[in-house]
């Protein structure tokens, strides 16, 4: 009995000692993760550079994006001069040497080659998030929702079916598939399960165009990692797309607004949106109060990790608030989809804002509250929808010290009244 007690004490002492030793030494040995853009052995333009810089030497690996099975590449080098890194990467095709120079841009530490072809970065105040380590970052392409998939040339239908059976939560995920009409050369958006989309895409795998689909916001990372590990996919990533208008509209706030005990709380998310929407709809910039009406909200939870939520509601708001145009009531469908995006820091959480079916009704002197749908007979343009999206994103982010992102590409920026 005595021996058992002694052993237990010894174990506790050893564990405490090891912990103290690690606290002292581990930070010095800890690798730092950077997002690397440039040639790498994977099918993606981006990779993860995990390096340790100590005593003038650099060691580490160039790893593929999360979920991709490409073997890591050994990285070594020197940091003999402050702000200069000489790295050697041992690709299977042969070693490559680069010289990177350091620069600080906004909240990022960047290392770039003289030709600016290769570079890597990290945030200096927070580690890269899991989505950042999973997805490629495109200058103009999607930052969420829209995925592109290419199937492996040697994949079989049996392998695909086996994967779909192995991952039922992914198979049943509702997505929106862009189906190409060969004759008209136009895409039609079809809502169906991911399994149906993958089967359809697999049949057309010989075509050069990748399979494009819209996954629920927040679920993209899980879906892409699963697909990359499926064995039938050559490439799955955010859509590299092209520059277009209003492709990005979201706001970012501190995680504490949506998280409870370390995990996402649907109740807190609903409460946050409920309260903020009332605040948005009742007062304009000149602090004048307006009538408003909020329809029945619909909150849905996506059934794959991290189980993100989306909140959809019909809103009736004065145009002085939405578009800063006097004399109208605006009605629109607003959806708020919470998720971690590639540019959110670990302390933040993003909410994608989408405004659809924007209609307007001339305000009557005889009524101080928005009328019913029968009065909303005039459809507004995409430009107006963009205006409302920006106004809402701006309000929701500014109120709680966050930030909003709204891509005005394709729209006349100088005409926008609400700009993030």
């Amino acid at each position: 009995m005595e021996t058992v007690k002694r052993r237990r004490k010894l174990r506790i002492v050893l564990f405490a000692g090891a912990t103290m030793l690690c606290l002292d030494l581990c930070p010095a040995l800890a690798e730092t993760l950077y997002k690397f853009r440039g040639d790498n052995a994977s099918p993606y333009p981006w990779a993860v550079l995990a390096i340790t810089i100590a005593d003038g030497g650099v060691s580490g690996q160039l790893r593929p994006l999360l979920g991709d099975g490409t073997p890591p590449v050994a990285v070594s080098g020197t940091n003999s001069t402050e702000g200069v890194l000489e790295l050697t990467m041992g690709f299977p095709s042969g070693q490559k040497q680069y010289v990177f120079k350091k620069s600080i841009k906004d909240s990022q530490i960047e290392w770039r080659t003289a030709e600016d072809k290769e570079y890597f970065f990290r945030y200096f105040d927070t580690p890269l998030s899991e989505p950042a380590l999973t997805f490629s970052q495109h200058e103009c392409g999607a930052m969420y929702k829209t995925l592109e998939i290419k199937f492996s040339a040697n994949a079989t239908a049996e392998q695909l079916e086996a994967f779909l059976a192995r991952a039922p939560e992914v198979s049943s995920l509702p997505v929106v598939y862009s189906r190409l009409d060969e004759k008209k050369q136009t895409y039609t958006q079809i809502s169906q399960s991911l399994a149906a989309t993958l089967r359809e895409g697999f049949k057309a795998r010989a075509k050069p165009e990748p399979t494009n689909l819209n996954a629920p916001v927040g679920a993209e990372m899980y879906v892409v990692q699963k697909l990359r590990r499926s064995g039938v996919i050559a490439m799955a990533d955010l859509d590299s797309g092209g520059c277009g208008g209003a492709d990005r509209s979201y706001f970012v706030v501190d995680r504490r607004f949506f998280f409870d005990s370390g995990s996402f709380s649907q109740a807190k998310f609903e409460q946050f949106i409920d309260e903020r929407l009332k605040g948005f709809a009742q007062t304009d910039k000149l602090k004048k109060s307006w009538g408003y009406r909020l329809g029945q909200r619909k909150v849905t939870r996506v059934n794959v990790p991290p189980y993100p939520s989306s909140y959809r509601i019909k809103m009736y708001v004065a145009s002085e608030i939405t578009r800063q145009v006097p004399g109208w009531w605006d009605s629109f469908s607003a959806s708020f989809e919470a998720g971690e995006l590639i540019d959110t820091k670990q302390s933040e959480y993003a909410v994608v804002v989408t405004i659809e079916r924007l209609k307007t009704s001339k305000r009557s002197w005889g009524s101080e509250t928005p009328p019913d749908d029968n009065f909303f007979t005039k459809d507004l343009s995409e430009f107006d929808e963009a205006e409302v999206t920006a106004a809402l994103s701006k309000y929701l982010s500014e109120r709680d010290g966050g930030r909003c992102v709204f891509d005005t590409e394709g729209y006349e920026r100088e005409k926008h009244k609400s700009v993030c």
């Binding site: 305000r363 005889g366 009524s367 009328p371 029968n374 009065f375 007979t377």
Partner: protein, 145 residues
Amino acid sequence: MYQGQVRILVAVIILGGHFLVFFAGLLLGIFGPLLGSDAVQTVLMASPILGVTATSALMFALRGETEIAQGSKVTTLFGFVTVFFPTALILCVFIVFYAVYKQVSGFGPDQMKIALGAIETFFGVFLGAISETLFGKRASPAVTP
């Protein structure tokens, strides 16, 4: 009540009502929820029956340059019917306008046009008959030159 009095009363109601409906329709476009095209459509839809009757009433008024004959005494039913239908038509149009102005639920511009169409159809027959009786050719001799 005499024929002449009824004619004058109904002519005033119809001419005044027609003017007010036209004016109110335009105001609905300025202060109400109707857009320009909706306001014009509203005026056009609310006008035909009242307009035709008003034209007859106007012709009657123009014919009576010096005096309008008093005529014989009419029954209470005649007086009631000839005054009630034009008044009811104008009131119905104004109720519809008011509902749109106050943006009553279920009463948007499209519903308003349907309601105006129904009112015009319903009252059209009655006002046609009244117009013919009061301001038609047979009524002309009652006007003293």
